[in-house]
Subunit: 338 residues, 4 copies
């Protein structure tokens, strides 16, 4: 039974982690931290967890937490995470970091997009990027795994086969991404209010969204070529789900059937990738760790569609996949029968 700690237990990703851990047969949550002084019971922060955990939050330091657990999930905001992670690792536990702090290899890129100096830059080059469909072998032995962003996972999974097989041009890829509101976190800001979001669709952060360099870094690694995307995020009036409509420029002539076959071979044996014939819907992957993908032609224009649950496959589900791999368990454990 692996001992698990969660740093930063108040947000939605921590909540979803805890829901999965509540039914995981090989993991036990031994600590959860918050910055709240009151040290609330976990079910006071998340009433939906009532009865599932006998767990009061603590104000332990990362070092203290690291001594208690085998795996720590770091759900802190970026910049807070890079302060905690070195202490956790020094204390001897292994870490899945759900923040953005260890996703980018180049501290200069980090500093440009996040407008903050990286205080742990030497660790960036050795951190393993936690996308199990691509990097499972490295994840198994990693001490520190950088869990991917939600948009990022969707875009990478949707494009990886085409870039690995050199079927599309690596630049000029237009991504029109749609996310539910939970992607914005449990944050008090006007644009997160129900009365602002509901019955409304809009775009935001055009040309400035921080998942852009992450998508490009990993796709460049997969494709062995410098990949460039125009990433355009939009907000949808729903809780959960990311739906990406991706418009790449195809190289050569290929049919829809041929391309679907490329996807099916690329993802053969992957339990959480479903290459489907129909166009996916976010509802069909809601509350699951699946990523559903298909392709279509609109006249000559190739379109790739991919859908995930942003809090599960986009955050906490893939974190559990990573934990399972790190612990030598079946990566489905806690999520699918295995």
């Amino acid at each position: 039974m692996a001992r698990i700690a969660i740093l930063g237990a108040t947000g939605y990703t921590a909540l979803e982690l805890l829901k999965i851990l509540a039914r995981h047969p090989q993991a036990e949550v031994v600590a959860a931290t918050t910055r709240q002084d009151s040290k609330p019971h976990i079910s006071e922060i998340h009433p939906s967890l009532t009865g599932l955990f006998d767990l009061r939050c603590t104000a332990l330091t990362p070092e203290q937490t690291g001594h208690l657990c085998d795996i720590a999930f770091c759900c802190l905001p970026h910049t807070a995470s890079m302060e905690a992670v070195p202490q956790l690792l020094d204390a001897g536990c292994r870490v899945v970091d759900l923040s953005a702090d260890y996703r980018l290899k180049d501290p200069g890129v980090y500093e440009k997009w996040y407008e903050h100096i990286h205080t742990d830059p030497t660790r960036l080059s050795t951190t393993v990027y936690g996308l199990p469909e691509i990097y499972a072998d490295r994840i198994r032995t990693a001490d520190l795994v950088a869990n991917p962003g939600c948009y990022t996972s969707t875009c990478i999974l949707a494009l990886a086969p085409l870039l690995a097989e050199k079927l599309i041009e690596p630049t000029g890829i237009i991504i029109d991404a749609k996310s539910g509101i939970s992607g914005a976190g449990r944050t008090l800001k006007l644009s997160n209010l129900f009365s602002e979001c509901n019955e409304s669709v809009t775009a935001y952060s055009i040309g400035k969204h921080r998942h852009t360099p992450e998508i490009e870094q990993i796709l460049s690694d997969i494709g062995g070529v410098s990949v460039q995307v125009a990433f355009n995020p939009h907000l949808m009036p729903m809780d959960r789900g990311i739906f990406c409509s991706i418009y790449p420029r195809l190289e050569g002539q290929h049919t829809q059937a041929q391309l679907l076959e490329v996807y099916r071979q690329f993802y053969a044996g992957q339990p959480f990738i479903r290459v489907v014939d129909q166009i996916p819907t976010t509802k069909d992957v809601s509350f699951t760790n699946f990523c559903d993908i298909t392709v279509r032609f609109n006249r000559d224009q190739l379109v790739v569609f991919a859908a995930i649950d942003n809090l599960i496959k986009g955050a906490s589900g893939v974190a559990i996949q990573n934990m399972n791999l790190m612990l030598g368990l079946d990566q489905r454990m806690g999520m699918l029968k295995c």
Copy 2:
């Protein structure tokens, strides 16, 4: 006081027409037809109209209806409309047709996309396309106006200035369009059920959506060149609103400010077009006849954003604009103070 008739009063576009007409100072609804045998009062079909109209639906023929009114709004489904419109015109009234039957100039294109023979093909070439921002002069004197589709209006208004000024390539224009569910009409089909649509986003009719040839026909007319788009519609879990994210290929170098100025000059004096600095939201145009437009650059990729209320500016509001023009009234009447 103009006498108004509505053919096909049970759907959402008829409802929105009636709501606007209920406060229009120069129009009086004298007849509304349905195929229902029971001849219900209009407030039995649409309880929200209770107290606004003393109007019982009739089963009048189009010819009879045409004798009663000055303007008929034809809210019938396509193929039903092309049967009714000739009778209405013969009876001497003028017609705003909200179906797709008279939008396309070429009967062959109609038959290809709608899979139905056009029974009134000779009228197509002379029918006026009811987009007031482009064709106001012709609308004023028209006997038959083909009211545009909801996606269509949004895409045309978003692209017209760029094509008229030859600032973008006319082909390879990618349109990622998002619509609320009311765009699918008041139709009993599984995909319209609340429990199917809610908390879900998906794409549909990729390469097959019937608004495609309409967009291309009108943009080609505006641009004086053959325009080709890849139109990709999506469904959003909300009642109302269309949000289009459009990715054209820019010709030459232009800044965001220069392009916004092009839009502002193109739409100078148009009461329902708002060229805005911020990215529009569907909520900001909900229950209005406005179309909000802006442009952004995502690195080198130009993106045009446009938002409307699909039932108002996308259907019934523009129909009233057309009616106002046909009657020699201020086109804002019934919708904005004028």
Copy 3:
């Protein structure tokens, strides 16, 4: 043309007021105030108003504002309002106060429920309660009108005929009230976040909601007897709308038809009350100033159902009704054809 000022222009009630005033033929908005230092244009605060007003917000004092206008709408929070209103009145304008500060006659009751000393207690007894269906005559000549709460209006309108005609017991009236989220205002708090409210229903403030004494005060006035209600508010995952299900104890034997007739006579000539046969829906009154009411029997238990749009009939629409009455205009002006 009446000169109108709005104090506190950033909230949803101010927005809805401005939308109605934008089409009102006899009112001109001459000033809008905010506490924001930046003095934004009104369309920066509310992008949906773009093009409708050439109006920059000011930081005028209430006294200065009062000199500029004929009618001031006070959209400030409670306790702020009681500071501004005396200054406005002293400056010679008339006031519709949308806060709770002048609704209760008894300063002791105010202090008990709002936990704040009333600094203008002597004015309470003479302030006119702004429910036009009951107090139109007093509203016409009032200098200060206290605009009712949203739940309050719904409950009073639903129960007034039964209490006036002494058809129900005045105590033990159970009210199960359901409201959309906009009723909670444009306030940054966790419970207003989309991801908290969406796909969720709950109850709140049981036994403590501040609309309780207001409902009881006005119903006691109408019924000539001390009325006591158990008011139970709930939150629904939608923007707009209040739906009240009210369970009174009937005195004597009456049929549904008889009771509906009592309602129809009581509200004869009222343009915004619709006594309907079907059970109302909030959608049928959304974006209108209507209140739809019906009654049913569930075995022996009488149930009254009433629905309004909480931001229109529950706040800004009734405020315009009050303004119209104060200006000697048709109370429908700006909202219905008249």
Copy 4:
């Protein structure tokens, strides 16, 4: 490994059953039937199940199905169920019937509320009502379990302790029940359309809802006295969740703390009942088999609040609880760690 069959696989309750069974360690789905001629794969009917089952639907007769399985879940509509159940039982399998056909003991009551003759009336008196918190012992050995209605479970669980302890009057109990739209099933009717339900709240079937006699029958059994309720169902614009606000008349004086203690003792050891201090929300029980309950006083009026997920605790989750009991398994299996 128990062999499971599902009759009537196209609806939402079948879908939720299958989702739970997909992770149940002691159950294997061996058959699923539909009336569709095409014999679709289960993932064609429910794309969300892609990859979870290798299962093509069949048109087997109930008798044939009964021979294949240990437990059959009957998800047919009422009246269809009473035709299938006898055949299933004759074939030797045990049955959990999710329809209403076997819930009522008295065929006369069934015929009055369902307006249909019961064709298997003699079995009614011996059928076990499948509410595990009350009837677990009988469920364990039953051949036929009548799975409760969704509203029914909520109301019974909310009132059982008060009636068993004789703390409230058994008549005049007012229930104001709120349900998400999935409760209406996957049925093509106007009132189920997204554009009708969304952004709307209303009441329906006042005095006529078929869960009324079921609530009364079971509560009368629990209380040992004839119980009568005024049950008032409402529709909320969300997918899932039932929230009941119940207004009984208290006998004697009791505090909130005392009553909560009564609930906690009554439900001691029940894994799916959470007696909570805060007012429940449907979101906190969404996608779970929990029923959250609390009580409040609004002045003298007792209010009981209870929330469930209508498709899980209200249908398919409790069906799995029943199956687990029938199989001698931990009733949490497949739903909670055990």
